[in-house]
């Protein structure tokens, strides 16, 4: 039985950088059933109303990862997003290309930076060259070992996380959520022999620029939870190397603040993260804030029952131990 159709207004981003001075939005109206995916509607527009509409797609089944775009400002797969709920929630349906990548034409973006960042983490098993495996030898993992990275193989490299990420938007040094989630997958793979090297390298190649905003985890259509995997990577990096970077020093310093007082010690933490030289560089800003908020430089009194916190540290803060 066919569902009741709705008359859906769809605003589609149109831009051909070789011809157009600026992007525009074309408005189409379609009679569709509410559960119709946005991709189906776009293909229908292309087939019946405007053959010049340009988009990427392939499988139509949320497997190939080709049709990621912005739907009502959120990065999603067009094949997996039904029209009805979007119109219900927003009163409109606006379809735009992914963010953080240059538009080639209409809904198609240049994905080269996304793929470059992926290649940079060397996303393949590195085995020990001195002990090459004979051809055809299996190299099995236990179910518990596989379980450590059961989320990441679900990734279909659609780049929805890359499009949603404010660190990618603001700093080209950040490799993006997908590359880091994939790196995690190789770091915890028991067959990989480059784990330590991978952890050392990534510390200076953007790991500590993740904001933990979780926008990637919201955007991911496959529940890879990249932000959680990046947190896991950070914990492994600290366990491997300690506080070699500002990011790791900040996390370790924060942990020490709580051990000593139970609370954050604002100035002390800045010094631990930045070092004295860094602190000197922030002097002007520090003074500006201090004039309004003199408590910034005061050490807070220790919490009551601090000894309890110290005991938790003794019991659980063994830096040599694994995390999951």
């Amino acid at each position: 039985m066919a569902a009741k159709t709705i008359s859906a207004p769809i605003e589609v981003y149109r831009y051909d950088p070789s011809r157009d001075r600026a992007p525009r939005y074309d408005r189409f109206t379609l009679e569709v059933e509410p559960h119709t995916p946005v991709l189906t509607a776009l293909l229908s527009i292309r087939n019946q109303q405007d053959p010049s509409l340009t988009l990427r797609y392939s499988c139509r089944s949320a497997i190939c990862g080709s049709c990621a775009m912005q739907i009502n400002s959120k990065s999603r797969l067009a094949c997996q997003t039904p029209i009805g709920p979007e119109i219900e929630r927003h009163g409109r349906l606006v379809v735009e290309p992914m963010r953080n990548q240059a538009v080639l034409r209409d809904l198609v973006v240049d994905q080269s930076s996304f793929w470059q960042n992926y290649r940079k983490i060397e996303p393949y098993l590195k085995l020990d060259p001195r002990q090459p495996m004979p051809e055809g030898t299996p190299n099995p993992m236990t179910p518990a070992e596989v379980d450590r990275f059961h989320e990441t193989p679900r990734c279909i490299a659609c780049a929805a996380c890359y499009s949603a990420c404010p660190a990618v938007e603001s700093d080209p040094a950040f490799p993006g959520p997908m590359a880091l989630a994939k790196l995690y997958r190789f770091v915890v793979d028991p067959r990989d022999r480059a784990t330590q090297d991978r952890l050392v390298r990534i510390q200076t190649e953007g790991l500590w620029l993740c904001l933990r905003c979780h926008l990637c985890t919201e955007a991911c259509p496959k529940d890879v939870q990249p932000s959680e995997r990046i947190r896991d990577l950070k914990e492994l990096a600290i366990a491997a190397q300690g506080g070699t970077e500002r990011g790791s020093r900040h996390a370790i310093g924060f942990k020490e603040n709580i051990r000593e007082r139970g609370l954050l010690q604002e100035m002390k933490l800045v010094r631990q993260t930045d070092g004295l030289a860094g602190l000197a560089g922030q002097l002007g800003q520090g003074l500006r804030i201090w004039r309004k908020k003199p408590e910034t430089t005061k050490r807070p009194p220790a919490i009551e029952d601090l000894a309890q916190v110290e005991t938790l540290y003794r019991e659980l803060d063994d830096p040599t131990e694994g995390h999951r």
Binding site: L209, R212, H214, E218, E235, G247, E295, P300
Partner: protein, 298 residues
């Protein structure tokens, strides 16, 4: 209502104006705040990067303090809210319990998992209710266009936090409308403030903050408001740096959530600690025809 008050570190240190405003508003609305001097820091989204299990245990101890008193727990910081809620969720995992419980036993603490962690925004919109707040408004903020800025950890990961919606929240805007302000919708309202890397790579953090402030400004906001003192540091205390990073003047007053509620309920700027802000709030007060605060802001 009576609730365990978890102010978090910043509201006891450089963000003291947030604590002042919270106490003023709680009193005006009949919320009894019970303080516990043994509460520790929540870990702030940093300690778990160094040791997740330890961070969960620290927060299990905090939650157990409220549980022993038979109270739910009030936070006034998006990050505290996120970290304490995350601990509650993690403690549902048997493997985490197996490591945390024995450590808690060493300090004579056990936590059953009964405490609800509620941010002030939720307490105001759900427990007190918008009708009750509307009834107490003495000086509606009519004419002030305000861009709500939620703070990531109040919203996401939405599956973990069971928050109203990681993508399309509206509780803050509903509250702003209830106190007479005109909420401004803009993309940046659910984005990141940059704070987590403010001390890791300041120029990037400042650029991120600048983008969100500029977005609010371009949508006509006279002011922004945040339920998170860490966002406040990034958006207010470092706004001069954000201006430099995005290459434009912003001059955007940024309120803590309870400061705006307090203004509408009749508190003075001084009672709410407004003169402590780095960016003067006077232009926003002028938009609602209120005199500038008596203490000059710069």
């Amino acid at each position: 209502m009576k609730i365990a008050y978890y102010p978090g570190c910043v509201a006891q240190e450089s963000g003291r104006e947030l604590d002042m405003a919270t106490r003023w508003v709680a009193k005006a609305l009949g919320i009894e705040l019970v303080s516990f001097p043994s509460f520790s820091c929540c870990g702030s989204g940093f300690v778990d990067e160094a040791n997740l299990t330890l961070n969960v245990a620290i927060n299990a101890r905090n939650l157990a303090i409220a549980e022993r008193a038979g109270l739910d727990l009030l936070t006034i910081c998006s990050t505290c809210q996120g970290m304490l809620t995350l601990a509650n969720r993690k403690l549902d995992e048997p493997s985490v319990r197996a490591r945390v419980d024995p450590a808690l036993a060493k300090i004579g603490v056990s936590y059953r998992g009964s405490v609800k962690v509620k941010h002030l925004l939720e307490v105001l919109t759900h427990d007190i209710g918008l009708d009750a707040i509307r009834a107490k408004v003495r000086r509606p903020l009519r004419g002030m266009k305000v861009g709500a800025f939620y703070g990531c950890h109040l919203l996401r990961p939405s599956a973990e936090l069971a928050s109203e919606s990681g993508e399309e929240p509206h509780a803050f805007e509903d509250l702003l409308a209830a106190i007479g302000a005109d909420p401004v919708m803009y993309r940046g309202r659910v984005m990141c403030c940059g704070f987590p890397i403010l001390f890791v790579k300041p120029e990037t953090a400042n650029r991120i903050a600048g983008r969100q402030i500029a977005d609010a400004k371009d949508h006509g906001a006279h002011a922004m408001a945040t339920p998170c003192p860490l966002c406040h540091i990034s958006l207010d205390s470092f706004q001069n740096k954000a201006e430099a990073a995005v290459g434009r003047e912003l001059a955007m007053p940024v309120f803590h959530l309870p400061q705006l509620v307090g203004l509408a309920l009749g508190a003075s700027p001084e009672e709410l600690g407004l003169p402590r802000h780095l960016v003067p709030v006077d232009p926003a007060l002028a938009a609602i025809g209120r005199p500038a605060s008596s203490v000059p802001s710069r």
